[in-house]
């Protein structure tokens, strides 16, 4: 008789690969106590601004400890609606076109579970956030990776989409600006993608979590193009711009029928997002914009610093237009991205993430997060330089 507990794990879960980040996390964890500078994180180094934390404490003091409506606090949905209209130029009704979720991660999961039948095809650009492909697999969908390239600053092009398209493709997943590349699309590029989505009748899931951290030009949401709001789920949250990762709070906006479908899954799986996090988010939207700008200014200077140093060192690095990630090309060292990341960690105690953790198209690159203090970035870059020089002499 088979007594292996693995026999109870669902087939599609047991074949699901572990995140490439996980392996690297274990490796870094082994170096505990050593002077490791980590550029391997995916979150701000700023703690949530005090006024937001204080508002959440006050909410607790007033006894706000109950479930909220499945869609989230109406007052928060009203603020989300106002914020999205002001910053993205798209209008959503708070009553039935906005749902508050446990981070964008949950919103994304709801989308796949609500819209993807087994066998449905989902296009997504790659390199990309680690969860996209597994999330598609978990609903028995079929992922179609569309490559983005350093030569385009990792912008997604309509040409690449067209080349990768397959009959029956139903959903396009976007993440602009992109984790891990910092790539994003110009208005003109996005317009062509919008046209492609209309032509192929695609539903668009647009994860715009890094939109406030756009350093060059202004961010454009694909939902703002004519006819696109009707076929787009706009996904956003508080983790990055408002430095609220641990609060796990995000939201989705879209056509009422689609939000209702997502709500069905959400009400059974999650019931509602934490009321404390919702209260914090409400405060962030009402009074947090100045802090967002202050943090963005810091990220901007840090980006310029790390990109300049990478290029000086000889690691070609495009200028990421948004997010807080640099994605330099490490192939000039003659090392693979994994060899580079492991060597750098072991010899110089700097943690970066190998690009292939974000899909095969991340080959030859590493992700370096610049949401870190100046002196740490300066020191980390000096160590990378020593490492690269040593490798170059071999």
């Amino acid at each position: 008789m088979n007594t292996d507990p693995k026999r109870w794990v669902a087939g599609h879960v047991s074949t699901l690969p572990k995140s490439g980040i996980r392996d690297f996390f274990e490796l870094v964890a082994k170096m505990k106590g050593q002077d490791v500078i980590s550029l391997g994180v995916g979150e701000p180094d700023f703690v949530t601004p005090w006024h937001v934390r204080e508002a959440a404490i006050y909410a607790l003091e007033r006894g706000k400890t109950y479930y909220t409506s499945n869609l989230g606090l109406l007052e928060l949905r009203r603020e989300i609606s106002r914020y999205v209209e002001e910053h993205f130029g798209v209008t959503y009704r708070p009553d039935d076109q906005v749902i508050v979720t446990v981070g964008v991660s949950e919103a994304l999961d709801l989308c796949f579970r609500a819209f993807c039948n087994p066998g449905d095809k989902v296009m997504y650009h790659q390199p990309c956030y680690v969860s996209y492909h597994p999330s598609i697999s978990l609903v028995h969908g079929v992922g179609i990776a569309v490559p983005t390239y350093a030569k385009d600053n990792f912008a997604l092009t309509a040409e690449a989409l067209r080349a990768a398209w397959q009959p029956g493709a139903k959903i396009l997943m976007l993440n602009l600006p992109c984790n891990p590349t910092g790539g994003t699309c110009s208005r003109e590029q996005l317009e062509k993608i919008a046209e492609f989505c209309r032509e192929k009748d695609l539903l668009v899931l647009s994860d715009e979590i890094y939109s406030e951290l756009t350093f060059e030009g202004t961010h454009t949401s694909i939902a703002s193009f004519p006819g696109l709001a009707e076929r787009t789920i706009f996904l956003h949250g508080f983790s990055k711009a408002f430095a609220m990762t641990g609060w796990r709070i995000g939201y989705a906006c879209g056509p009422a029928v689609l939000i209702d479908a997502m709500m069905k899954v959400h009400q059974y799986a999650m019931m509602c997002a934490s009321i404390i996090a919702q209260e914090g988010a409400l405060e962030a939207l009402k009074h947090g914009w100045d802090q967002v700008l202050r943090m963005r200014e810091q990220y901007h200077r840090r980006r310029d610093l790390i990109v300049r140093r990478c290029n000086e060192i000889g690691l070609r690095c495009h200028l990421p237009r948004g997010s807080f990630y640099a994605f330099p090309d490490v192939t000039p060292t003659g090392l693979s991205e994994k060899e580079f990341a492991v060597g750098l960690l072991e010899q110089e105690k700097v943690a970066v993430v190998p690009g292939t953790a974000f899909g095969d198209n991340g080959r030859g690159h590493v992700r370096a997060c610049f949401a870190t203090a100046y002196d740490q970035i300066i020191e980390a870059c000096d160590r990378v330089e020593r490492f690269v020089q040593r490798e170059g002499k071999r």
Binding site: I21, F24, F25, V41, G42, D45, Y129, S131, R301, Y374
Partner: protein, 162 residues
């Protein structure tokens, strides 16, 4: 805005060569900016921010805030008084205020007696000073932007995260 000034205002504790690295300038260029800011009397100097409750930093640890009412002078207003008061070594800062008093004076001294005698002998005896109201500081919680309890808890940020 002068880029070096921007970094100074941000309040980091960067050395000049770290500032140079952040801004993509040479050390010499950063020093030039600093010299220019000094020449323009915008940047007046460096001072450490200390937790004066710590024994090692406790010299001259008695601090007081004094509200001063004065009779403004024809022609000079409050300026002559303020400039005169500001010149005393004991005075750390001196501001003209709106509201129920005129000058707010921050004073530091080695002991309570020294501060008290400064107020009674030097400050209140200046002609034109109508009254003073002295408040001794008992405990400091935040000093020029720095929390004294060590600020935020030790970071629990993961070293590697998606």
């Amino acid at each position: 805005m002068n880029p070096v000034l921007k970094l100074l205002i941000d309040g980091g504790s960067l050395t000049t060569s770290q500032m140079a690295a952040v801004l993509g300038l040479t050390d010499a260029e950063v020093n030039q900016h600093l010299e220019q800011l000094k020449k323009d009397q915008i940047f007046l100097g460096w001072r450490p921010v200390l937790d004066l409750s710590r024994e090692a930093a406790a010299a001259a640890a008695v601090r007081a805030v004094i509200e001063v009412k004065v009779t403004p002078e024809r022609g000079g207003g409050f300026n002559r008084f303020a400039e005169r008061i500001a010149r005393f070594d004991e005075v750390e800062s001196c501001y003209l205020m709106s509201g129920s008093y005129d000058l707010l004076v921050f004073v530091k001294g080695a002991s309570l007696q020294k501060v008290a005698s400064f107020v009674s002998e030097k400050l209140s005896s200046i002609e034109g000073v109508l009254s003073t109201s002295t408040h001794f500081m008992l405990r400091c919680y935040k000093e020029q932007g720095f929390l004294l309890d060590g600020g935020e808890a030790q970071t629990t940020r993961l070293n590697v995260a998606p």
